[in-house]
């Protein structure tokens, strides 16, 4: 649907956080009644772009952005999200921002209620007026009617099925008088297939009424089905902007994950060099996982089956929220889990971190500050604590072994050793972990795991939020540790490139299940398709092609 004047026009948008560039020269237009699919891997810059569009305070606090935004023909620089809402841009978030104990109507009109006029207003301000429930209900009903679905305006949100919550959110955006553009961030992620179908037809209906839509989704099939045009972001750049009609999910997926030729060649060369030494088929299985489910908020694992060979570096990839992080957290007993995990032929007790640790498995958590560190204690405590508690290291028996006395000197020595080995920049073993930089904190976490001398080491997002130099050091350390001690490493990461450069085999998780396992040498497009959850036929093709 073409329109003479675009509703929204982004021109040369760029943004860097603390010298770290996340968006560069992104431009595209959205016309009235047009549905734009905005796709890209995690970290491609989608959410930053939306933050800029909505004038989130975090943008101005970190030095503003480059380029300009034209909304409705005028240049727009929203200072707060409320300005954007007032101008007529609605946003439907990934998490529900609904009040559970309120009805549909109350949520749709949250803070925009219809009021009865009252003489008290002049003295006590407008908030003293009572709510005009009848008007509110009719306003809510008309907003719901625009959606083309039936919602009970008096039903409590907490009693609703998930799909209805999503519709309520959209109705809330529609209820504004002048809404012209709605941004939907992963609206179908929590919906069942049939609910998603209804949502898509609703969006088409809205578009036909002239409302422009930006649809952000990882479900590429839906993007192709729904959108008029697709904008692909990668590493902060706009890669492509093309009509959705006639394109395929495979094409979009490869655009999303595709690397520049040199980078690809470098990785391929590196992988090829390793492929000789990682002839994994012949080795025995050290860890096998069957029917694993893990209840980890935001990273639910529904059913995972995989086996890891002794001495290999096994990668687990996938997009955010698909469940890849749940796998190590479930196996290590940190999140409620079920199913079977067998290590060296003996089952591992689940939901018991100590049992997992005692079986000589170790875990470097993705949540450094929350799970990985004692921020208020020194580096020595952080590194030695787990080994002390699980393996009784750094303890001296006193009174004939009646008590175990903590040896601060031994802990300090250990810390010194790892500070040297991993080049941790600090004032000494006593420095509080909370005062270290992200990269150095990560090294402390690794040291903590190494101190356990594990047979299987789980590493989750080892390079998230740390600088390039530290990244290399961390990855090299892992590789070195793997080759020197023969430790089996299971590495979970959202950076495919990183996985391909380090791992022997890589499993891709989609919707809580393993979508496929590929050797690191497989073409990048195949990974892309698995990550985007291509339908089973295509997956099979990809797997065959990959091998």
């Amino acid at each position: 649907m073409d329109s003479a004047e675009p509703i929204l026009s982004l021109k040369g948008i760029g943004k860097s956080f603390y010298g770290n560039r996340v968006l560069a020269d992104v431009s595209f237009d959205v016309g009235a009644g047009e549905i734009i699919g905005l796709v890209g891997e995690n970290g491609a810059g989608k959410s930053t772009l939306m933050k800029i569009l909505f004038g989130m305070p975090v943008i101005s606090e970190t030095g503003g952005f480059e380029g300009s935004i034209y909304f409705n023909g005028k240049e727009a620089r929203f200072k707060t999200p409320f300005d954007a809402l007032d101008a007529g841009i609605g946003m439907v978030h990934q998490e529900f921002s609904l009040i559970p104990g309120f009805t549909t109507t109350e949520n749709i009109l949250l803070n925009r209620e219809s009021l009865n006029s009252s003489v008290l207003v002049d003295v006590f301000g407008p908030r003293i007026s009572t709510l005009d429930r009848a008007t509110m209900e009719s306003r809510a009903k008309s907003a719901i009617a625009k959606l083309g679905v039936t919602l009970d305006p008096n039903m409590l949100i907490k009693e609703m099925p998930v799909g209805h919550k999503q519709f309520t959110e959209i109705a809330r955006e529609l209820c504004r008088e002048n809404v012209k553009l709605i941004v939907l961030d992963e609206p179908t992620a929590v919906l069942t297939e049939s609910e998603a179908e209804v949502l898509l037809s609703t969006l088409r209906l809205l578009a036909s009424e002239g409302i422009a839509i930006i649809f952000i989704s990882h479900r590429l099939r839906e993007v192709v089905e729904l959108c008029d045009r697709v904008v692909v972001l990668r590493d902060g750049h706009k890669i492509e902007d093309f009509p959705a009609k006639g394109s395929s999910t495979k094409q979009i997926a490869s655009l999303m994950v595709g690397r520049s030729m040199e980078a690809q060649a470098k990785i391929d060369a590196a992988s090829a060099a390793r492929s000789t030494q990682s002839d994994s088929d012949a080795r025995e299985t050290i860890l096998s996982v069957e029917n694993l489910w893990v209840d980890m908020p935001g990273e639910t694992v529904r059913n995972v089956n995989l086996s890891v060979k002794k001495g290999e570096i096994f990668g687990i990839g996938g997009l955010a929220g698909q469940g890849k992080l749940g796998i190590p957290n479930g196996i290590m007993g940190l999140s409620p889990a079920g199913g079977s995990v067998v290590l060296n032929g003996t089952p591992v007790e689940l939901n018991a971190p100590r049992a997992a640790l005692e079986r000589n498995m170790a875990f470097v958590s993705e949540d450094r500050r929350g799970v990985g560190l004692l921020l208020d204690e020194g580096i020595d405590w952080n590194i030695a604590f787990t080994a002390m508690q699980v393996q009784n290291q750094f303890l001296k028996p006193i009174l004939g072994g009646l008590f175990l006395w903590r040896s601060d000197a031994a802990m300090s020595n250990l810390a010194e050793e790892y500070i040297k080995l991993l080049e941790i920049k600090c004032t000494g073993p006593g420095q509080r972990a909370g005062n270290l930089s992200g990269g150095n904190q990560q090294k402390v976490c690794l040291a903590k795991a190494f101190a356990l001398r594990p047979d299987v080491l789980f590493v989750s997002e080892p390079t998230r939020g740390i600088d390039i130099g530290a990244k290399h050091l961390v990855l090299d350390t892992l590789k070195k540790y793997n080759s020197e001690y023969g430790t089996t490493i299971v590495m979970v990461s959202s950076e495919l490139e990183e996985l391909r450069s380090v791992c022997d085999r890589i499993a891709i998780v989609y919707e809580g299940r393993i979508e496929g396992i590929l050797p690191h040498t497989a073409p990048i497009e195949d990974f892309g398709i698995l990550m985007a959850g291509a339908d089973r036929d295509e997956t099979t093709v990809a797997l065959v092609g990959g091998n």
Binding site: P353, L357, L373, D376, W381, T386, N392, L395, L404, W405
Partner: protein
């Protein structure tokens, strides 16, 4: 100027004011005719009396259970120990020893149940602890009325039922610690060696405990429970251990308090026992989830110093006894300050 600011931020403005206030009181003392040696001696006796109660808060703060407003439970255990020991007819060191021994048994039992309860209400410990403490005091008040105690020094003479509200320990173990190896200098200065020694010994034990494997684990639980869990620590068990320790120390603390005070206070006596101890440790620099022995020593000294010095100085200068009001403002102000401060470890 910056270092000054940082010092103020670290140490906390209220604490600085309190310290300066106490120094001012001590400086003023000789000029307004207050007997300084007697005041210092008084302060020492009070530190000996109350020190262990302050110490009793350390384990629970360290394990992340927050300020133990339910210390009254420990106090109740101590009261049971004291009364049962008297009922059994023990006197002197034997009576004192028996009181402590019995109180520890009760302390362990109460602490276990209390710890179990607190594990179910993680995050809301402080308010629940307060009211569990209050209601236990009332349950015990009923118990004091109907328990079959027989010793004539403890029960109401005639007409009344049950135990007296205050029971003198004179003739049993009054001042048994205060007078042990007492150092008397002049007429006014008395150093309660025994009580201070016991306080020091308990502090040493706590120091040792937190250098053991289990003590280290408890510290980690308080510092970051998720980290501790990921390191294979059974958080609930560690918390129960800390609650039991706190309750048992509270029981010991009240018996030491009684030998110096000279009386056992039953019924509503233990109701607000936790508050001065909590205020003291906070004045000493502890946070809601971090406390050291230094906090205990400084806190006990500052708080007891203020309690001793304020009435004498105010009486001498203004002829007004505002000490009660000042005590209420200082102790609760300090607790309020600690509650509203953003804690370093989020959660």
């Amino acid at each position: 100027m910056d270092s000054m600011k940082r010092f103020v931020a670290d140490f906390g403005l209220p604490r600085i004011i309190i310290t300066l206030y106490l120094f001012a009181l001590f400086f003023a003392a000789p000029f307004v005719g207050v007997n300084l040696p007697a005041s210092i001696s008084d302060t020492m006796i009070r530190i000996g009396m109350n020190g262990i109660m302050v110490l009793a808060l350390v384990p629970m703060i360290q394990s992340g259970c927050g300020l133990n407003f339910g210390l009254s439970l420990g106090v109740i255990a101590g009261l049971l120990g004291a009364t049962i020991s008297i009922e059994m007819g023990f006197v002197g060191a034997w009576g004192f020893g028996a009181a402590i021994l019995i109180s520890q048994v009760f302390g362990a039992v109460f602490g276990y149940g209390y710890g179990k309860l607190l594990n179910r209400v993680k995050g809301g410990e402080m308010m629940i602890a307060t009211y569990v403490g209050f209601s236990s005091v009332m349950i015990m008040s009923i118990a004091w009325l109907i328990l079959p105690f027989k010793d004539p020094t403890m029960i109401w003479g005639y007409g009344g039922t049950g135990l007296r509200t205050t029971i003198s320990v004179e003739g049993f173990w009054r001042h048994i610690l205060d007078d042990f190896l007492v150092i008397q200098i002049g007429e006014n200065f008395k150093f309660p060696t025994g009580a201070i020694l016991v306080f020091a010994a308990m502090s040493f034990l706590i120091w040792v405990f937190f250098h053991l494997k289990i003590g280290t684990a408890i510290t980690a639980v308080g510092s970051n429970p998720t980290y501790a869990r990921a390191s294979g620590i059974n958080i609930d068990r560690m918390r129960i251990v800390s609650v039991m320790m706190s309750t048992m120390l509270g029981a010991l603390g009240i018996i030491v308090f009684q030998q110096s005070f000279g009386f056992i206070q039953l019924y509503e006596g233990p109701l607000y026992m936790a508050f001065p101890a909590v205020a003291a440790i906070l004045i000493g620099g502890a946070g809601v989830n971090k406390a050291t022995l230094t906090n205990v020593f400084i806190g006990a000294a500052l708080y007891q110093g203020i309690l001793t010095m304020t009435p004498s100085i105010f009486n001498a200068v203004l002829k007004v006894d505002m000490s009660d009001v000042i005590r209420i403002i200082v102790s609760n102000g300090m607790i309020l300050y600690a509650l509203t401060r953003k804690t370093k470890v989020a959660k």
